[in-house]
Amino acid sequence: MTKPENEWTWKELTVGNVILEPGNASQYRTGDWKTLMPVLDKDLCIHCGLCYIYCPDMAYNLDADGFFIADLFYCKGCGICAKECPTGAIKMVVEQEE
C-alpha cells in the first residue's frame, strides 16, 4: 500500500474502491489479533507438516533446518496447529513482548 488507510481522503479513492495493487493482503498484519502464540518444541517435532497443512492463514513456513515455524506477523493464534500436532510439540502460550 502506498500509504496507510487512515490517511486516504474520500477524493483519493479509486472509482468503486477498486484495489489496483494485487496481493496487498500480504501487507496486512493479522498477527496483532492474537492473545496466544504457538511455540514449537523441536525435540518432539517429527516434521510431518500437519501444522503447515492445517494453518488457515498459511502462516507456517519451512525453515532451513526442516522445521515448520509460524510467522507471527500473520498468525492469529487460533491454536489449530497445536490441536492437530500428533506429538504435542506445539503449545499455545500467552504472547510476550519480544
Binding site: 488507510e5 487512515n6 486516504w8 481522503t9 474520500w10 477524493k11 479513492l13 479509486t14 472509482v15 468503486g16 474502491n17 477498486v18 484495489i19 489496483l20 494485487p22
Partner: protein, 391 residues
Amino acid sequence: MGKRVGMEVSIAAAEAVRQSKVDVISAYPITPQTHVVEHLSEIVANGEMDAEFFCVESEHSALSVCVGSEATGARSFTCTSSQGLALMSEITYIVPPLRLPILMILSNRTLSAPLSIWNDHSDVMSIRDCGWIQYFCENGQEVYDHVFIGYRLGEDRDVLLPVIVNMDGFTLSHVIEPIELIDQEKIDKFLPPYAPIYTLHPDRPVTMGAFALPSIFAEAKKAQEVVIRSSIPKILEVWKAFGDMTGRYYQPIETYKAEDAETLLLTMGSFGETASVAVDTMREKGKPVGLVKIRLWRPFPFDAFKEATRRAKRIVVIDRAVSVGGPGGPVASEVKSAVYGEESRPMIYDFVAGISGRDVSPSDFIKMVEKAEIEINEGNKEGYEIYGVRE
C-alpha cells in the same frame, strides 16, 4: 419520427433492452415482471439478440450474476417485482458503491403481507436508500425511453451508477399502448458501447468489493454520496440529448397546469395521467388546482421540486406505500423535508391511495383535493390518512 405501434408495455421494455444491445440478462420470473423476461428469453433463444440469458434459481442470484458480468465489462440487465426485489435487496446495496451501471426494470408490486400481486410502490420503497438512480415512469413510452436513457446515464464515466426504471405493475406492464419505436441507428448513436474504467480480467488483476476497516469506510460512503448527488447535471444533459433525438424532453419534476395553482396534486408513476384528468375537471369549474409529478426519485431533485411548488399554498401528496409507524407515506415525508427550510412553505396533506392496485379514479383525486383543502383550512397540520378505507 420513428414507427408508432400498439404494443404491450412489457414487450416494449424488452424491445428496448434488445435495442440497447445488452450482453447479459439474468432474471427469475415473478408476476408482474414476467412478460419482460419471457419476451427477452424468446428473443435470445431465436438468435435475434447476441446475449447470454441466465435462468437463475432466485432473484438474489439474478442480481449477483449481473454484478459479476457487469464487472467484466458486459452490459447487464435484470428485472423483478415485489418479493423478488426483497430477496434481491442484499445485492442492491452492493452494486452502487462498486459503481456497476446495471439497469433494472422494476414492475412495481405490493410487498406481502397480506399476499398481493397488484401494484403499488411498497417494493421499491423498501430499498429507497440503496443508492441506485431511480426513475418513475408515467406511461409505456417513458418506460421504453428510459431503458436507453438509463444505460447512457449509468455508464457515463462521471456517473457509473446502477439505474432502476420503475414501471407500475399491470397498470403499465400489462397494458397495450401506442409506443414510438426508435430506429436502431439512432439508438446506436445515442448509446455507445459500454467503456468501463476497471474490469475483471486475468491480464490486469484488480480487487473489486474488498472489505473496508472503520478507518476508511466513511470516506468510501462519502464518495458514493457525492457521486449520486452531483449526477443531476448529467441526468439533465442525457435527457436533453434524448429530447434532441426524439422530441421527447423529460424533466426531474414535471408539472401540469401548476403555474397559478393554489393546490397541487403530487403523484409519482402512472397515477399522473389519471390525476391530470381530475385537474382538467377541477379547472373547468374554476378551481386553481395543478399537478406535480416526480420523475426522478433518486437523487431527489430538491431544487427543481422547490421551484415547481414554491407558489402553491397546499400540496396534496398521493403516496403509494405506507411507512408503517412512521411520519406518513415515503413521498410526503420526503417532500416535507424538502420544503422545511423554506421561508414560505406550502401545507402538505398526505393520502396513501391505491395500495395493492386498488383503483383510484379522477373523482377520487377530486375528493382527496376537497378533503385536504377542508382539513388544512380547519387547521389540521398533520394531515395523513389511508384513502378510501371502509370504517
